[in-house]
Symmetry: C2
């Protein structure tokens, strides 16, 4: 044994992943730990997948509901999706196999704001939770759970599940102990909810561990396995250009007296553009920054190292293998600068609005009127999900969205007449940025936005067609607030589906 299981009762429950997985019954809902590829159970899901396959091979029905924090990894989403045994999935995913199961109609997927998952589970909206499977760094003498590299939904699932399985992963550094901040009152149901006492990104308001009812624990599994972190791509010119426009915008807000010199807490989505923004901050003029976000990426760690960022609050890591090793080796150092919280705290509207978080998220496409699609490809196909972008966008000090102006080598314009799916409405979107430039939509009516978005953000190849759409729409529209020609508003997407390009 690894020595990570320090409580006698829990030691008695150690078993193989296979034996633990055999406890699962057809039709169960299972709440797994895991958020952006970190802190998910490493061996239980594959063992469960083998059992599901065996049932299916015998012609027996075996399907489960899979709830997580957010995206996981091939060992969880991939392994289970491949069996065809996921009946329902929430609240976010990004695995190719899982995505395929959703888009072929094998699995139902409910795309839920990450801050809403906690309330929806505890209010009983998603049905009964039969089992929680949660990765831990260790189990203390008192039978408490030391979380690992993500917190996500763990508190909620451990509280609500009938049965609990813990995977204790000795790959995770023991020095993570003390980095987490587990705030229990967030789980209260109305009318017993109280103010969330966070006023600064680094405020610690809870305990270091997750509490479990030991009687509910049916198995403990020992693992020693790295999070499936993927390296970031080298920064490309588009990402650098987008980051540059964003940082200029922030600088101008400071000059105009609207932002303090150390800005306000930063949130940034996951991915290369977000990392480029962080890299830009590293070279930029801002000092004493803070971050209140979902995920700690490589660039955030570099910013902490530089001293430009004083504290980062999130619910999970999403690090490259190199950065993950560094985090593991230096967790005792970083735990004074990083707070990992449950996702219903990291993404809570109350904290985000109070602190005035600066929200910057990626998107698939925006339309000329400022509606944003974060989730769907050509109307029907799910990419990943809305994640926490809605939590930060609706409630932040300002909401920014970024994307290159084209995709598929120019065949797709990411600025379109009408988005094929709306995740963030015109009421919630304030700044759009592509490598072409930035459109500041604050204080503008739809017709004003259209011109600005086309001129500042659209790729030159698509500007003329967009302006022609505007002209046509103004001629055909039944009202001039948001001029649309509904017969052709989605025509660019239709053309792409028919011809492989939006270009005429």
């Amino acid at each position: 044994m690894s020595g990570r299981i320090r409580n006698e009762a829990f030691k008695q429950k150690v078993m193989s992943a296979h034996d633990a997985a055999a406890l699962v019954e057809n039709g169960w809902n299972v709440g797994f730990s895991g958020f952006t590829g970190s802190g998910y159970p490493k061996v239980f899901p594959e063992a469960l997948a083998a059992i599901i396959d065996a049932h299916h091979a015998k012609g027996e029905e075996f399907r489960i509901g899979v709830w997580t924090g957010a995206s996981t990894a091939p060992e969880l989403d991939g392994a289970l999706a491949r069996t065809g045994g996921i009946s329902y999935r929430a609240p976010y995913q990004s695995d190719p196999e899982m995505r395929s199961a959703i888009n072929t109609g094998v699995s139902y997927y409910q795309d839920i704001h990450l801050s809403h998952m906690g309330p929806q589970v505890s209010q009983g909206f998603l049905g009964h939770l039969n089992l929680a499977v949660v990765e831990a760094t260790a189990i203390t003498e008192d039978g408490d759970i030391v979380p690992s590299s993500s917190v996500g939904m763990n508190r909620t699932y451990l509280d609500h599940a009938d049965k609990i399985i813990i995977e204790v992963n000795s790959w995770q550094s023991e020095d993570l102990f003390g980095m987490h901040d587990i705030y229990y009152p967030i789980g209260a149901l109305p009318p017993n909810r109280v103010p969330l006492p966070i006023q600064n990104a680094g405020d610690r308001i809870g305990g270091k561990v997750l509490k479990v009812d030991a009687d509910k624990v049916v198995a403990v599994i020992e693992t020693n396995s790295a999070d499936r972190n993927t390296p970031f791509k080298a920064l490309d010119d588009d990402s650098r250009a987008i980051a540059g426009y964003f940082l200029d915008f922030l600088g101008n807000e400071v000059k105009a007296g609207r932002l303090p010199e150390n800005l306000l807490p930063l949130q940034s989505g996951v991915g290369n553009i977000a990392n480029a923004v962080l890299a830009g901050l590293l070279e930029g003029p801002f000092e004493n920054l803070t971050s209140y976000t979902e995920v700690i990426q490589d660039g955030m760690v570099d910013l902490l190292d530089s001293g430009k960022l004083t504290v980062a609050s999130a619910t999970a890591f999403s690090l490259s293998p190199t950065a993950a090793e560094k985090m593991n080796d230096n967790a005792a150092h970083y735990r004074n600068k990083i707070v990992l919280r449950p996702q219903d705290v990291s993404n809570h509207p109350e904290a985000i609005r109070r602190m005035g978080v600066i929200a910057c998220n990626g998107m698939i496409e925006a339309d000329i009127y400022g509606n944003v699609n974060s989730t769907h490809v050509m109307g029907s196909r799910m990419q990943n999900g809305i994640g926490g972008s809605g939590d930060f966008t609706r409630n932040g000090w300002v909401s920014c969205f970024v994307t290159p102006s084209t995709a598929k080598g120019g065949a797709i314009s990411c600025i379109v007449p009408m988005v094929n799916h709306v995740d963030h409405t015109e009421h919630d979107v304030q700044v759009l940025i592509t490598e072409q430039g930035l459109a500041d939509l604050r204080g503008l009516a739809p017709r004003q936005r259209a011109i600005k978005v086309i001129e500042n953000c659209a790729h030159p190849d698509y500007r003329e067609p967009l302006l022609e759409y505007v002209k046509l729409a103004e001629k055909k529209a039944n009202g001039h607030h948001t001029p649309h020609d509904l017969a052709t508003a989605l025509g660019w997407h239709v053309r792409f589906l028919e011809t492989g390009t939006m270009a005429l």
Copy 2:
């Protein structure tokens, strides 16, 4: 004089509406009081309209930005819109002349969440505020402003405007004094924002009056004029049926143990269906109810009278003339049961999520996947605006939307394949109700929602065509998460625009 102006310095500033309006300059932004037809200035806007007309008659440019709490009345929106002199309007309107100015392209309109208007103004996103024109019940000896029948944006506008004009309306009951709860810390900018200390709908956390810098006051006008309240229509069968389904839903939630017996604080939109719900509660089984909402309507007063509702929190009245008279005669009685707050408190995400408000709002149409359009007619034409529906929908315990299943005598189906504009996304909509029935979408993926919405909510005449769309979409879609045929998704609206009906 009416005796309502009890401060000497303010008495010195009394002048005619014409003289006060003559102080306004071309290009100014003016913040007016007024929310759902109550508490708006009664004579200043018409005097200003006359001055604008005179400028226009001389061929001179004269246009202003008009900011309010929400909708006002013909004496404000109507009078000013008619001049063509409104360059920009926010955050909500419902006046026929104003709507026409927006839809003919004369005025720019920005449709803003009512809870966002305060932060956007104070963060400087909407530009400079030159003047605030605010109705008051009285001015105290100390030079404080006693609000009238709405609070809305008044605190923000008085704090931020360069100059202030007060209309003291002796039609408003002096006994309104003490009904208002003006919480000043809500105006703080980050990083100085603090938790909003509301845990129950009736909590009083602020003072009774609005503070003004007397040096900024350039005019005081005396009026004696009723709010332009409109009588409610008699309840029709559709409204009664919708209210019935909603109340059954609440009853079932109580039975399932998900809601306490006295429910959670109720929010309801404005209009006949909302009033039918309130009428239904009057006859229903629930006791000790509370309300945390935007607007106090007739039905809410009846509920207070019955004792079934113990307290109602809002930002404004929206009463029939009869109920308004009753309120005026009995304000001393009602001020113990009604709290009128600034709209950035009445609609604050923090309070709404903490208390678990039950949100129920009207809509124009919903689509089969649960997206809701609250604002646009056939894609381009603005009806009223999103108002506070987003504030309550995103943050409430549950979010419900109601509409009759058809409009225009059946020519329009209010359940469509794809909404022509999205104000509330599929991530935010949980229950849809028409006179046909209720679709509980909690825990459902898009394809599951489609069947439920069609079967439970669509009008029988449109069910078959909707099911046919689903079949077609499943055949044509590039993915089966949200099957759409983008070429025909908006075809029902196109057909209506071309033929006057959505029916084939």
